[in-house]
Assembly symmetry: C2
Homo-oligomer: 378 residues x 2
């Protein structure tokens, strides 16, 4: 037996690694990396720190620097896990709080020790849970969105009913539907839940209505309670708007509810989309995460989308895989190509592309869902 | 009397104006502006909207397009005020939810109708209130920060006491201080409050300790309650991390407490800093708003900083003016220049620049505060 081996695993548990991409000249990268580790940990000059324990255990460390391209570097930074306090907001703060307002740096990735990851819920349902909800074995799941905002609850419900007749798995509120005077949350959710349930009885499919939540934590809790009363099993919210702490709290408080995350206000140019929408939203409990598919009206590349889907689904820290939901200007014509690209563990979300069919909405929706089912039998 | 004049004011109250900056070729700006108004309102093709009321009242409108420079345009968009539901998070969503993930657009400014602004609290104390707290008539206010994180409560308290002996107006927690195992919120805040109060009795100055809050709304409320018990009159939080709804809720629930906003996670390259840190944080209730001063370690220009201070203080929608707090790598040497630039209605925040003095901390702090007072007598 070796004498007193260093507790290697334990030491590994004390640090998380943040991976930054930095634009800077080669001659300046060493100094820039040193400034970055201070910015994201003690935020003061090293010379002004007197306590040895803080220098050893709290100050972040540069773990490695690698040139990605001329004038572009990857900097791996080891942050003390203890600084996060195991709290979602403080984790975001330690990862990118101050650096998010520096022009030359993006947060590209994060590697978490298992003991820190265990402090966050991860998805309640994940891929398998949503598949079970939708009874969608061996195929991709389907989704559309209720819009435009401004419609009265009765009009939204009528639309929801027609979409459900087309055989979708999920029908989500547009993320613009909040608690507005012309369409209060309770009236809207009650009406839409009833309409979808009625259509579901006709089609024999378990179509789920996914209402959008908004407001502070009190309002979010009231909305969750109302939704559960109405038989809702999945809800939508935008973690960057509600705050990630509120999101993770709702996930923990409602272990039998599924959660879909919306990317609104994610400012993706500074926080890598695969990290924020793939890993972090999953970490905090997203069962499904919406993102703009490549070739639509957002600027994400094919590579970004692939990496995002991978981040959401790959085995990671004992968290359930989350369902990637490519969206944003998608049309039924793109379904086969998307299924080739994302495989079956995804949910296809088509909103405007179906609503454009107007009086032929049910047929267009049915064609979309049939296309996905046909693909599964390949 | 003119016959049935159109209710012009009323109509003006129905829309808010979001001002975007868009990078695009001149030939494409009209189409890009049309896409932008749909993205930020109904998020679907106009052709698919059947209700006349929604086309007239809910769909956003391009109010004007102006070339700022070659390939760079200002697009003024009128959004329906009713779509915000008067809720802080939903206001952010309507202003920049989806567009924040499009590479070519930044949100530059917003113009709110008075009736919508009245749904948000604005600062409880503002410039006059903070001046009264600090008994700082006719001069700029001073502030420093407790760091590094990792220090135990007793060490933070000792540091706070020494800073207070130097005669500062405010001593804030570093925004990295959360509720960590080595420095739990209650232990830290109790110890620091006591230390500052003791030093304050010696100097005869009303130095205020400003603890940093974090966590979900439940945790934030517990922390506020504890802080008030400890005699705290001002707190710090980062609205982009907690979510703006939590921030505005705390402001409303604590009308006798002052609030300082931290820019962490603000991703300023996509949301104009004068808008987010100046106007919006003020709208939601920041009495003081911290931002990186030009010439420090962040990329804000002198013009950006000037515009931000102006946005925080200028008369606006019957909200109290908020105190601009330039910070980020500032040193006492820059005090005269900063006071020339920002005038007296500001708070100077120097953290590392004082802490670097180590055993001469009290003297360095006293020199800083004396400099500010001397400047006031000019």
């Amino acid at each position: 037996m070796p004498a007193s081996p260093a507790p290697a695993t334990d030491a590994g548990e004390r640090r998380l690694v943040a991976v930054y991409h930095v634009r800077v000249e080669a001659a300046a990268i060493e100094a820039r990396a040193k400034a970055l580790v201070l910015e994201q940990s003690v935020e003061m000059p090293l010379e002004a720190i007197t306590e040895q324990r803080i220098l050893a255990e709290i100050v972040a460390r540069v773990e490695g620097i690698r040139e990605l391209a001329r004038g572009r570097f990857e900097v791996r930074v080891a942050l003390a896990a203890s600084t996060t306090g195991g709290e979602p907001g403080q984790l975001m703060n330690m990862l990118f709080g101050n650096s998010s307002i520096q022009e030359d740096v993006t947060l590209a990735d994060v590697e978490l020790p298992v003991s820190l990851a265990a402090r966050f819920p991860g998805p309640n349902s994940g891929v398998l849970g949503l598949r079970a909800l939708a009874r969608a074995e061996g195929r991709a799941m389907t989704c559309s969105a209720l819009k435009p905002q401004g419609l009265m609850p009765s009009a939204l419900a009528e639309l929801a009913g027609r979409l459900a007749l087309g055989g979708l798995d999920f029908i989500k509120d547009d993320h613009g539907l909040a608690d507005q005077a012309y369409s209060p949350f309770a009236a809207r959710v009650g009406a839409c839940a009833d309409a979808v349930a009625a259509a579901s009885r006709k089609t024999g499919r378990p179509t789920r209505y996914v209402p959008s939540l908004s407001g502070n934590l009190d309002a979010l809790r009231r909305q969750v309670a109302f939704a559960r009363e109405a038989g809702i099993e999945m809800v939508l919210l935008a973690p960057m708007i509600t705050g990630v702490a509120q999101f993770a709290t709702l996930v923990r408080e409602n272990p039998t509810l599924a959660f879909m995350a919306h990317p609104a206000l994610a400012g993706a140019s500074r926080l890598a989309p695969p990290l924020l929408l793939g890993k972090l939203f999953r970490l905090f409990g997203a069962d499904a995460t919406i993102f703009p598919n490549h070739g639509g009206r957002f600027g994400y590349s094919r590579e970004t989308c692939g990496a995002l889907a991978e981040a959401a689904r790959a085995p990671w820290l004992a968290k359930r895989p989350a369902v990637p939901v490519p969206a944003g200007g998608m049309t039924p014509e793109r379904v086969p190509e998307m299924l080739e690209f994302y495989g079956r563990d995804c949910m296809l979300l088509i909103g405007g592309g179906l609503l454009s069919a107007r009086e032929r909405l049910v047929e267009a929706t049915a064609a979309f869902t049939a296309l996905v089912e046909r693909h599964a039998r390949h």
